[in-house]
Structure formats: structure tokens, C-alpha cells
């Protein structure tokens, strides 16, 4: 798979499993081996979970983008501004769980950031390089 894939799923905990399924399948189709695809699955789970920790209310969609580029894979998860609850700096992990999540993303991906994008969307992005 060399084309970009976009996925919109309800921004709710019960849909994170669906994001994981898609992530692992896309990684395998992009040429990742099973161990690397497993890492992508875990990282996407952490990214969606981090995003949901900064969501308020219910309803709406989170958008995932997967962009294979040679032997790299770039992933972005967006939470729309109207669902975002931005108390304090996003990069300051508030809870112990969130610190574990950030540590996992930092370990697994070559670069990882969680930012407030222009317009107020919360965005988690990370890349794998040199795999596949």
C-alpha cells in the first residue's frame, strides 16, 4: 500500500479498537513486518487515547491519516476544536497513565508530538522511518 489512507471514527473509547485494527492492517499492507505492525497498533492506540483524554462532551469524529512514504509511515490523529478541552499545556502529561502513554509513543515512534493546531484542533502526529 503506497497511497494515503484517511479514516474518521466516532471520538469515543469504544472505537479505539477499530482504529487499532485499521492501523495494524495498513502497516502490514505498507510492508511492515508483524512486530513493527504491532508497534504501530500500540502507538495508534496510545495516540487515540491521548486525544480522548483531552476531549469533552460526546459526539463528533476523530480523524486518522496514514501516509506511507517509501519505507516510512506518518500517522496523524485529529480531534476537532469543538470537542477539545485544552486545560494547560498539551505536552505536560497530567496523569500517570498519560505519562506512560507519552513514554510509549516516544519509545516506539521516531518523532512524536501532541499539539494544538491552527483552528484549535488537537493533533497527535508521529512517524516511523527506515522500516518496512
Amino acid at each position: 500500500m503506497t497511497e494515503a489512507v484517511a479514516l474518521a471514527i466516532p471520538a469515543a473509547p469504544q472505537y479505539v479498537a477499530l482504529a487499532r485494527l485499521a492501523a495494524a492492517e495498513i502497516a502490514l499492507k505498507s510492508g511492515f513486518d508483524e512486530a513493527a505492525a504491532e508497534d504501530v497498533r500500540l502507538a495508534v492506540s496510545e495516540a487515540c487515547t491521548s486525544i480522548l483524554r483531552h476531549a469533552r462532551g460526546s459526539g463528533g469524529l476523530m480523524r486518522l491519516q496514514f501516509r506511507p512514504d517509501g519505507d516510512a509511515l506518518a500517522v496523524e490523529v485529529h480531534l476537532p476544536a469543538e470537542r477539545a478541552d485544552l486545560d494547560g499545556a498539551l505536552s505536560d502529561a497530567a496523569s500517570e497513565e498519560e505519562r506512560f502513554g507519552f513514554a510509549t509513543l516516544e519509545h516506539l515512534a521516531d518523532d512524536f508530538e501532541m499539539i494544538e493546531a491552527e483552528g484549535g484542533d488537537v493533533v497527535v502526529r508521529f512517524t516511523w522511518r527506515g522500516l518496512g
Binding site: 479505539v16 500500540l42 496510545e46 500517570e96 502513554g101
Partner: protein, 116 residues
């Protein structure tokens, strides 16, 4: 696989058999099972993750809080896990040094000092 936690007691040890994937959606059910077992009088817990195919930081959060609760109550917590995919997140976060992790439920029970 649907998420499920089977709770049973072996003497004064609470044994939680977890099945499925532990994530932001299912972790509260694991937490509820830990609380229920401890409120039932067990301060020594074995959480068996042998049938868990996936766990992320949401599960780690529940297990760390269970470890603290059992220690504060004068008890202990041991985990059962032999799956590399699940053990990986314990290593990444440094928690493999914090938890007592056994490869089988029998080892965990004997390390816990079960009478049986």
C-alpha cells in the same frame, strides 16, 4: 474477543483472569473488578493476563493503582504474563521492574504463598 474478567478466590488470594484487549474502553471494567475483589476482603491479588492479546497505558494505569492499593493494605500484587507483545509496554515504561511478573498462574500462586 469480548473483554471479560473472571474473579475467583483461592484462600485469601483474589485471582482475576482477564480476557480480551485492555484499553481506554475496557480498563474501567478491570478497575471495577480490582475494587470489587479488594472490597470482598482480598488484599493479595494475582492478575492473570495470559488471555490478554493487547494492553496499552490505560491498563498500566489500572495495574499501578492496584499495586499501590494492595501495598497500602498490607497485601501484594503479582501479574501473570508470558506474551512478548504485552510484556513490551511494561519494559518500555520501566514497569517490568516495578511489578512481579510470572510466566504462569501456578508460579504466581506459589510465589504468593498459596496454601494449595
Amino acid at each position: 474477543m469480548d473483554f471479560q474478567v473472571d474473579i475467583h478466590r483461592d484462600g485469601d488470594i483474589g485471582v482475576l483472569g482477564v480476557r480480551g484487549e485492555v484499553d481506554v474502553y475496557t480498563a474501567p471494567k478491570l478497575k471495577a473488578a480490582v475494587v470489587e475483589t479488594m472490597e470482598g476482603g482480598c488484599v493479595r491479588l494475582v492478575v492473570d493476563l495470559s488471555e490478554v492479546g493487547f494492553m496499552d497505558s490505560s491498563g498500566l494505569g489500572v495495574l499501578v493503582s492496584a499495586l499501590k492499593r494492595t501495598k497500602d493494605a498490607g497485601g501484594a500484587l503479582r501479574l501473570v504474563c508470558g506474551d512478548e507483545r504485552v510484556l513490551k509496554i511494561f519494559r518500555i515504561t520501566g514497569l517490568s521492574k516495578v511489578f512481579a511478573i510470572d510466566a504462569s498462574r501456578e508460579s504466581a500462586m506459589s510465589a504468593m504463598g498459596a496454601a494449595s
